[in-house]
Every structure is written in C-alpha cells, then in structure tokens.
Symmetry: C3
Subunit: 333 residues, 3 copies
C-alpha cells in the first residue's frame, strides 16, 4: 500500500482484516519494521482519538512520531496556483508539502471541509493539493469528505461482533446542535458497500448523502422501519449535502433510544465519537451492554497499525540503491 | 502502586525515598521496564516543569510519551451525569477517559480548580470523574486541591539536605498579584504531616488552609516568630480557603527577605516555582547559597521516575493471560 | 562544540562540511551517540521547518526530543534583573533556563526580535539571558539577529552545487508585505564571509544590513548589475536596520523573475522558505530546474544532525566521574 485515502487504496479487505487481527494478538511483533522511520502527523484541524490512536500505532511499530498542529503552531497555507501571495497566507502548499516530505517517511494529514462551497470541499482541494506535492506516502486522518481510518475500525468492530455471515447494518442519522461534515457517514457508507453486509441508511428527507458513496445501500426515511432486525446501528449526525452545510435542527424525534431499539433484536450500537449524549443517543444506550463505542475507539489503534504496517512493508520491499534522501525524492516518479 | 493522586497512595514513604535515591545514581538502569509502555500526559491547564520532568522521567524508563494539551488541541468536556449535551461541550468525560485509556498504559492528568465554588473544587469533581472512567493507572500532574509530584520532590529535597533527624520546616505564606490555588500548600502540608518533621505553617489571619490537610502542623500568624530556628522555609502564596478563591493583596510585609531569615540559623529556602521575584521572595535569597529551588525542580524528574517505576512494576507483576487490550479494560475490575 | 549560536562556534567549516556529507550517506550510523540523551526544543515563536528538521536530526542520532511551545503552552518570562515581578510575567528567565537544563542534555531555543528597539534586539537580550542561565549546551533555532542552522544548510547546498572553486553568490533583497527580521540575511552574510565565495549583496538604498555581519561583501543597489554572472542567487526580504524594523513597501521592481536572471549564466535560485510566491520570486523560478529551495530544506536536517553530533561527541568526551545531575550543573564551570 503506498497511500491510504479511501477504501479504494485497500487491495484486499479480507486480508486487511486478517492482518489487524494478528496485530491485536501481538501488537509489538513488528517493531523492527518501523526502525529509523518517522511518521509526521499534520493537523489543520484538532484531533484527539485520531492523533493518539495513530501515534500509538506508529509507536507499536517502532516508528518515531512528529506531531504538527498547523493551526496553532504553524501558519496559513496558500492552495491556489499562480497566486500573488501578498495577503495573510505565508507559505504555498507546494513548498510546505515538499519540505515536510524531506523530514518524514510517511505523512498523516487531517483537513476538514469548510462546509461553505460544496464543489471546493468535494474536490478535496486542500487534501489533494497536499498529496500532490508530498513525495512520501500519505495517510488520511480525515479529509473534507472521507475518514477511512475511522471506517476501517468500524468495519473491524462489526466483523468481530457479527453473529451471522451477512449482518444488517443501519447508518442512522441523529440530531446535533451544529453543522457537521459528511466525511464519517460518506466513508462508512463507502466501506459498508465494499464489504459483505446488508446496508441501510436512515435519514430525514433532504439529508441524502452524495450518491457516489452510497451506491448499493437501501435508503429509508423512517427510522423505526429501518431499525427492524438491525444487527448494528451506527448513529451519526451530518449536515445537508443538498442544501450544502446546513444543519437540520429541531429533529429530536431522531434521537436514538432504548425504546426505538426494541425492534432490532439486540442490535449493537456504534458511534465514531465524540457523541452528544441525549442529543444523538440516550445515556441508557451508551452505558448499556450493547454499546460498542469504546471498542471502536480501541480498534482505531490496531487498524491504523495495519495501515502503517502495510505502507512500511512496501517502503521496505522497494529496493533502494540510492541515498535515503534521493529515494524520498523519487518515491512518486 | 496503581495510582498516584495523594500521599495516601504511597505505601511506604521511606522505601520510596530509598528508591528515588537509587534512581538518581543510575537513571537509566530500568529502561527495559518501560519498553512497549506509553504514558499519556493530558493537560487541561498549561505546564512547564511538570510536563518536562514527567516526560523525561518516562523517557529514562524507556517509555514512550504522548502529550495532549486538551485546552488548545482538544475540546471542552462535559462532566455532568445525565446532561443533555446541546451546548458547547463536545464530549463527555465518560467517553474521553475511556478512550484515552485504550491508547495509554498510564495516564497523567492536570486539572486546576476554577476557584469559584469551593465545594466543586474540593470534591475534585473533574479529576475524580476522569479517574473513574479511566481503565489504566492515573498519576496526578496537579489536581484542584493537591500536587503530590511536587510534594514528593520537596520531601526528597528536605531529606537530602537535613542536618538533623527531625528538621523544623516552615511553610510561609507569601504575597502574589493574583489568586492562586491551594493545591501546592495543601499537598505540602499533607506530605510534611506524613513525614517525620517539625512542621509549622505561617500565614496571615484568615488564610487558613483546609484542616483536613494540616492536622499535626503548628499554625502561626507571625512570620518572624515562625521562622525562629527553621531549617527549611517553604515559601508559597495561596488564595483564601475561607473566603474561597479571594487573593490577599497589599501584604508586602510577608515578602521573605534575608533580613527576616536571620533568626533561622542558616535555614534553606524552598519554592515550587514559578516564583515572583521580589514579590514572594527577594533576589538575594533566590540567588544566594541557601536556595534549593533548582534542586527541587531537578528532583521533580527523579521522583516522577520513582512513581512511574512503581506503577510499571505493578503492571508487570500483575500476570496477564489475556490479550493486551482485554487486560487494560479489566484493570480496575 | 559546546554551543551553536553563530558561525563563530564552528572551529573548522571544511571539517563540518565533510561531517555532514558523511551523515547524508548513512544518517543512522551514530544512533548510539544520542542514547539516553534528550533534546529540548523551546520555541518562543512558531516554527515548521526548524522544528521538524531538528527533531528528525535528533531522532536520527538516537536522541529523545521534548518540544515546548512557550507562547501557547507556557507563560511569559521576565528578563530584567532585579525586577519586582508584580505584572503579567510569571517566571524569571533565571529559573526557567536553569530548570529546563535539569531535564535536557541539549537545549534548542528560538526567539525572534520584536523589531521595535534595535539596541534591545541586537544585544540578543532574550537569547543571551537564556543561554547565561542554561547549564547545558544551547543551539540557536533562530535568535533576534542570526539563524545559523539555516545558514549552515545554505552553505552546504552551495558547496554541493558549485561548479567552480569560488562561486559568485548574490544575496538579493526581495519585496514582502510585512516587516521581517534581519536574522536570515545577517547570518547568511556572516557564513558567506567566512566561506570562500565571491559574495555580493544587492538591496535598495537604505536597506543596509549591520556592517558587523557584512564585512567583505560587495554591496550594490542595482539588482540587475549585481546578478551578472551570479552562480547562486539567494532571495530574501528584510526590514530596515537603519530605520529599524520599517518594511520597504511598493518595491515590486525587486521581484526576481526569469527575465532578470538571464544575465546570471544559469545561476541557481535559493530561499530559506517560507517564500511569498510572485511577491519575492516568480512561480517560473520556484518551479523551474534551477531552484534549490527544497534541497536547502532537506539539508536543514543533515546540518542540524552534524551540529548535534558534534555537541554530543563533546558531551561524551568530557569524562564524567560525577553523578549525571552534578555533571549538568557544572557543565559551564
């Protein structure tokens, strides 16, 4: 694997699931693999779970980690080609990405959408520009439209808890107090459609996701009907894709409760966290025995480790007669 | 040791002092102990000495360290049970603590008091809620009411410099320009009362500390009388416990000077730092030969190392037939 | 080497260039040298390249690194002797520097000028006070008036690309939208004057640098004339030294373009980054084959490694019969 930006970068999902289960049994067995390799984690937006889980994953592999919070520690970047940079932006992404590639063997990058202009966000302008000028493998720590490390952990959690070969998985829209990106639900849908599950998305009318990620899913607008016989219910808010970035407020009837879960046949509850208790999900569900949310978070570490291990193996397999510095420069040639 | 939140977590003070003196002689002798173990340092409030000394202590033990400044890098946490989270708080401590426990083997936590409501601060609500939902050992990096890593370093410094078996130690209130927590003096009093010293607290009337920490101490309101024959003078400001959080201003006569120290019989000067020069203590004392303030700071590293070593030894002693991930989840069961 | 604050700390430039070229061939050959040594990187001002390159250099040497952003993570320091600290400054540099020296084996420090009072900045008050109270070797990560790690990387880049024994190097002033320090051009001039190059500085009248750094350079006010037959053109903005801290605005005719470079005989383009595209330098030059800017950035890592290696070797050579803690305290005795 030479990058991890969406499910499409995974050549074989089943093999990846096997790999991560081996890693869970012995997380430190590949510490030689990361020796003398450094992971740079670049955050244009804040992070808790993703930062700590990915950092720990790299540590388990024997890598060193350098964390850079660009917002607070760095400076504003210019992304436009040909810009006359006489404003507040101090550096062009061309230099920033190329320079960071000199110091890191793998770069993890987080860049949220602005939720103002759909075309800009969905072109993944910031993320793609950065990747374009990086000369080392890039791992998405959540981009404007996708969050593949989260979805991989979600798939693993389902894989570990499913009681039938092809479980019913429901992605259930939930209320929230502010406008959230579509990255998590887009990505979850993309991974579920790639995996062998019976996949339903339940959301209020008008909250459709981009069809490019939901092909193969059953779409329903009645939450209670969607939940029938569900094995896994993945709860998540998102703002509108159609009326781009607008939050749907006053939708309290979409709060998921124990009462609504009764028709699911003991379905598990999932959420990517952070979760707004008693707004998205009731306390009773989150604190109850069928909540998988902490296990999902734990799996973030092991799935990130599987991704980094796969990339490190490719870096090692690529024979390197050149100087280390020259190898990096020619990685994408 | 499976946590370090107050002096009560130390089963044997004399044994701990012996351990830290062994560590000082050879700080790197236990590097195998921390192998594959990660310390998470979580700061709700900023830190310099505590962060660097604890980070270095962990490094000396072969641990990896992940630092998270929650204020600037993370988000506001909810601490109320049953809250409907429709405000600005993005995550409940239940999830935050449980999730961080997945990625760390030991967690260090700093959380200052708000100095608004005494009951809230003295119930250690933030700290205790966090510990409650952590599933790994927790080390206090200073809580609302105590700072045990500082006090341990203070005790070691006294132990190393005392010239008689039972030295006279004076905790002397000092002026400051703003309202400070009582955590350092509370904790120092608690440790001095647990150790074998002749302990006096000198403060202006009305600046009494919580009696639960000062039992066994002699309380005096005349600084000069208190200093008589003192072997160690620990200088520290705190705001009022009675009139909670109110600073005592215009108390310049409590500034400690060489002149006032004359009756002490060459007593040593101590301060936890940062110190306001010529407000709390005069330059001549801080720059003079009897100042131990830099040695106290140095001892922060070795005492933190003794605490982490004791916790690591318990983690290793605890036989672990389960998967690593399962052991963590069951640590407090 | 026991500090690295200017070119004057390098006993033999040619030997240092040889060392760094050995390092580039095998960056991990000295990993034992940094074992059990910790580098503290203290930033009073933000950093991207310097932080990441120096951190990676230390990692390559087997060191541990602790990064402290004093602005956002710490507190304001007092630098005046004898100050009555009743204002907003929470700690005196005397304590801060002495304390950090307890936890680190080498300290890297960044402190920008205020560009308000020339005498204050050019006395390097902040930097020198810090160094004065440090008890371990200090590496400048850019001070008010110099940036030696940058200049060393610049010299290496010239050394690697020169086609004649004594190349012509031109430092060309360039426009910018705000007032920048003189640290990079001062330092570049100091290193070029110490090395064996034909060195010209081109700037608008009134933008003279401090003569103490430019002795030996040819000064010209006509950019086009200065560029004639240049082998290397180092582009950089700075604010006025004479009319201290004032930026020279509306000087678009100093923007460097392909057209202006025609008389140089295929001269290379250099810049320390970050660069304002199409304000300082045109896109065509930055994206063209003669741009060395990314190679300069890469060389930052290797030159920092040479500096750290030289300091580590001195730390090891200095026999140490004392306790580790005592050795540190006595380093500058």
């Amino acid at each position: 694997m030479n990058k991890f930006i969406s499910v499409n970068d995974v050549p074989d999902l089943a093999a990846m699931l096997n790999l991560v289960q081996d890693i869970k049994k012995d997380p430190f067995s590949k510490k030689k693999l990361g020796e003398n390799k450094t992971l740079g984690l670049i955050f244009f937006n804040p992070s808790l779970r993703t930062r700590l889980s990915t950092q720990r994953a790299a540590i388990n592999l024997g890598m060193n980690v350098m964390v850079m919070n660009v917002g607070t520690e760095g400076w504003a970047l210019e992304f436009e080609d040909g810009a006359v940079m006489n404003g507040t932006k101090a550096e062009h992404v061309k230099e920033a990405a190329a320079v960071m590639s000199q110091y890191c063997d793998i770069i993890g990058l987080r860049s949220f959408p602005e939720l103002k202009d759909r075309e800009t966000d969905y072109s993944e302008k910031v993320f793609n520009k950065f990747v374009q000028y990086c000369t080392v493998p890039v791992v998405s720590l959540e981009s404007a439209t996708l969050h593949p490390l989260q979805s991989f952990a979600d798939l693993l959690t389902i894989h570990e808890h499913k009681k039938k070969a092809r479980p019913k998985v429901v992605l259930a829209w939930a209320p929230h107090v502010r406008a959230l990106p579509q990255a998590v639900p887009n990505s979850f849908a993309q991974w579920m459609c790639a995996a062998d599950v019976d996949f339903t998305i339940a959301h209020p009318e008008g909250m459709e996701l981009d069809e490019k990620f939901t092909g193969g899913a059953t779409i329903m607008h009645n939450l209670q009907e969607a939940l029938l016989d569900a094995d896994f219910v993945y709860v998540k808010n998102w703002s509108s894709y159609k009326d781009y970035g607008t939050p749907l407020l006053n939708a309290d009837d979409w709060l998921l409760t124990e009462e609504k879960m009764k028709t699911t046949g003991q379905g598990y509850i999932m959420h990517c966290l952070p979760v707004r208790r008693n707004v998205e999900l009731s306390d009773e569900l989150l604190d109850g025995p069928r909540s998988l949310v902490i296990k999902q978070a734990e799996n973030r570490m092991y799935t990130a480790q599987a991704v980094l291990q796969s990339i490190l193996e490719e870096l090692h397999a690529n024979p390197n007669p050149l100087l280390w510095s020259e190898r990096i420069s020619s990685f994408y040639d």
